[in-house]
Subunit: 188 residues, 2 copies
């Protein structure tokens, strides 16, 4: 399981410089200059760090085989050298969302909000990894990490705006938008 | 989240006496005489305990609204004074199961294995609580806890046999069957 667990550590070191950190809904996180992304189980806050968010990659909750095949055919890997822009978007959904049955959540997520269909429009530009954390006792339900080249910044912005306008997002009660750069000269 | 987390502690104390503990598939657990069921986050093994299994109740992964309404209308609460028999069935599914897409898992789980439909046949006799643990780094993926009156022991056995014959169970690679009594005179 350790290889499915990731920690996002906000503090004074790491390869990613945080250029923007703002609350879209609910309480923000303390502003810090750097983010480290660590694979494996991390339980204690390193010296100088202000927060640590943990999540685990897991089985897909809504994606059908057909959708998965489309995603797999188009999605790029993380770590492309030219993808010097990143975003970390922690999201917490409402208790009423989690009280819905599986078919009701799927209907909002895809039939009515086109979450997967919208995401497919931004492939192969935007690489993405979804981490689940609701069942870990974390403050957020999901942490999504995105990487893209500076030239795709406007496209990424469009994707985020489209999702925030969706019916699904009415069930989001806390959301942080964090933007990062790996190269000081990158304009993201 | 603490109120959704449960620990099952096998050792020398607890309200439930373990009358049977056997591996159905894969490796067994160390035999112990008593089981304690604790609500909340438990990280350390109490003195005298041999193992601790943790799980969290969570959103339903496959159940539709219609199925949920049928379940809620029929299912009894845990803790009925007359339900002095219990079972704890830890299950781990295969990597290939977890590699399936959501619609493929649902098709096996219900269309082809009738997991929910079969369970409904044993309501209101058998009370049940499902705990998820795959994403917690635990040795099992699920811990299911059942409570029933001694007179429903044969019905419970039928339920377990029906599920083990299903296509879904071909994806189970480790399973323990533990039976317990709360009253020394109970015949379960």
């Amino acid at each position: 399981m350790g290889d499915r667990m990731f920690a996002f550590i906000g503090g004074i070191s790491g390869p990613w410089r945080i250029v923007r950190l703002e609350a879209v809904s609910g309480e923000s996180l303390e502003a810090v200059p750097w983010l480290d992304v660590v694979s494996g189980i991390e339980d204690s806050l390193p010296a100088g760090a202000k927060w640590l968010l943990r999540g685990v990659t897991s089985s897909e909750r809504y994606t059908t085989r057909r959708e998965r095949d489309l995603l797999v055919a188009r999605q790029p890997a993380l770590g492309r050298p030219e993808a010097t822009c990143a975003a970390l978007i922690p999201v917490k959904k409402s208790a009423s969302w989690w009280g819905l049955a599986q078919d009701e959540r799927r209907a909002i997520f895809e039939q009515r909000s086109e979450h997967i269909k919208t995401g497919l429009n931004y492939l192969p530009a935007v690489a993405r990894r979804l981490h689940h954390c609701r069942d870990l006792g974390e403050p957020f339900d999901f942490l999504t990490w995105f990487e893209y080249v500076p030239g795709d910044s406007a496209a990424f912005e469009e994707l985020v705006v489209a999702l925030r306008r969706s019916e699904e997002w009415k069930h989001v009660e806390r959301e942080i938008d964090m933007r990062l750069v790996r190269d000081e000269t990158a304009e993201c």
